[in-house]
Symmetry: C2
Subunit: 377 residues, 2 copies
């Protein structure tokens, strides 16, 4: 069964949309936040816990699985779904972002990227064709094109050449993509240059992908630049195809980018912050390592219905984090993912009533209010 997307509603005041991802007889609402399971596990959580949180699509990383355990083992296991015991939709990235962030030094040629395995230093060579082939073996439902992810800022000349190469790579990937049970997304690059974003989007649309991602954000640019990059990309994308903003998950960024036409997001932040003792709340992010929570016998966030907030206090979770007990990271991962699920649900509700801007303003007032108790950063 191939994953499908159906847009069902347009906000009247912003570019936000409501949609549905249809997979394996089930429907999942968009806008959607996708938890990240880098190494075929959403860190510290069981697949059942991930589903109970209300997750739909989860993301897994091609680069990491390619290195360990290797795509052939996952294929022999019957694919990622069986390997990791998750029957919801799975998206795999292309490896392009990890080449950018983890693998240094790297040598980019027309053929692909030569770089070093960050685990053992071995030489590796990743090409658009190989990325598609690895993702086929992993058996994900959404496959990403291999692209070059470029940092910010970037000279226009380099970005122009890079976009052209990313387009040629997208074409090469599409040519070898079989797509019997998978869909393939193209990735819009172009940095902070509208002409390049436009060109990239238009050329990808000509190739007719099943969905479109926006890449090259969260690479060092300020938030307002990120939002503009998104606007200058979504406006050239077809209305009926799903739009994915890669690697973005800061709460305010979900709201702002939904308003610019984004349907799905992924980010490691909720689980990574959890491992460092941080928790999202509607009144700001709090750091449970802070000594003021030592004798705080209230839940992380009043009114939150997650398993962590229903059963445990800040004092206990702080103790677990201090003692390096993984149950602490697990409780905070549950809370943080639950928070983003609640936020994205709020976003969907406010699209229906065309009140997303008011919701955003209210959110900012609460989340960034310096005097609010609990705001630690």
């Amino acid at each position: 069964m191939k994953l499908e997307f159906k847009k069902v509603f347009d906000d009247t005041k912003t570019n936000a949309r409501l949609g549905k991802v249809i997979f394996n007889g089930k429907e999942y609402d968009t806008p959607m936040f996708m938890p990240v399971g880098t190494a075929a596990t959403v860190k510290t959580l069981s697949p059942e816990e991930v589903k109970e949180l209300g997750a739909g699509i989860i993301l897994s990383n091609t680069y990491h699985l390619w290195l360990r355990p290797g795509e052939d083992i996952v294929e022999k296991a019957g694919g990622l779904h069986k390997f990791m015991n998750y029957d919801g939709p799975i998206l795999t990235d292309s490896g392009g972002f990890q080449v950018f962030s983890l693998a240094k030094p790297k040598d980019i040629t027309e053929e692909g990227v030569k770089f070093k395995n960050h685990l053992n230093g071995d030489s590796l060579f990743l090409t658009p064709e190989l990325s598609i082939e690895i993702q086929r073996k992993l058996g994900s439902d959404i496959v990403m094109s291999f692209d070059e992810c470029v940092g910010y800022p970037c000279e226009e000349k380099y970005m122009k050449d890079s976009v052209e190469r990313t387009l040629r790579w997208a074409k090469r990937g599409k040519d070898v993509f079989k797509g019997d049970n998978q869909v393939l997304f193209g990735i819009v690059q172009g940095g902070y240059y509208e002409n390049l974003r436009k060109h990239c989007a238009e050329e990808l649309v000509k190739m007719d992908f099943d969905g479109y991602a926006i890449g090259g954000t969260s690479v060092g640019e300020p938030k307002n630049i990120m939002y503009e990059m998104v606007s200058m990309s979504t406006k050239y994308l077809p209305d009926d195809k799903i739009r994915y903003l890669m690697g973005v998950g800061d709460p305010i960024d979900l709201i702002e980018n939904v308003m610019r036409g984004i349907d799905i997001f992924d980010c490691v932040s909720p689980t990574r912050l959890a491992r460092h003792g941080h928790a999202y709340t509607m009144h700001g992010k709090i750091n449970l390592k802070n000594n003021k929570y030592k004798e705080d016998f209230t839940p992380i966030e009043d009114g939150c219905n997650c398993y962590a907030c229903k059963n445990y206090t800040k004092s206990y979770i702080k103790h677990l984090i201090n003692a390096d007990e993984s149950f602490g990271a697990r409780l905070l991962s549950i809370h943080n993912l639950s928070f983003l699920m609640r936020l994205i649900n709020d976003i969907r509700e406010n699209i229906k009533t065309s009140t997303l801007e008011e919701y955003r303003d209210e959110f900012i007032k609460n989340y960034y209010h310096k005097d609010v108790v609990g705001h630690d950063e």
Copy 2:
């Protein structure tokens, strides 16, 4: 509500017994294996998972909680049950074993033990009275007397003096123990000297504790010596009181020591082995780090009904352990605890039918058979 113990059946062929621990309106069968939650969490597991495994009493460590988060915080939280969200019975040890194993150098005087905090090097002084007071604040259901745990082998002269001191400490602890909602156990020491074990047991029995533990095993002695130490202790203990063998959890040791009259056991092994990639099976302990499991798409143990075995393969769990993903340790902890619960259940069934010796012989044949597939050590 105070925890109670009722012996209900004696094996006709060995010294094994069946009993019940009654707590908070629920009955728990003995012989019983108690999972260890050192820092108020059974490592990697939720309290719900621990209960689903069939656990009754769990153990938490006074020494660790004293240092972090501190017994006052646990008391203010409403006690360990509320703090860690576990409504089953909780036993706390006295700190004596950690003084022996973690805190070096130490200086033992009549008053108590002076030693260094293993986390920050601070000077600490633990006495029988303080141990009882900390355990009162922790709010556990079973409190252990503060004792000196001595290694093996040990000169008779030292052991004799140590036993006398342990007896004086037991008396001092009992004198300050209030026991409104707690029961207090004495600890039989005496090393490998039957006269000392007998003397220690008899003197403790005169003080009339609610239960009796056997200490000073698992401190370097061979298995047959441990079994003898247990026999030379249980034979001087009253039939109607619960008997606890501290820190022992190797599968064969559960069987052998139940045959010598032990009712309850605790050990960190199932969860510690899990974190190192090891799994118990009826055909021996296996090490999932072994490369032969790379493409082994079968469960850890055929026929095991635990969550890990029902849903995941050796190949996947091996991958998680290799990638240092805590879900791997969680799955193996579930399996290993589930294995010991299954084993202790088998033991209880074989007491009923007076077939424990046959069960033991069969167990040894399977578990230690070198040719059995999967036996890695």
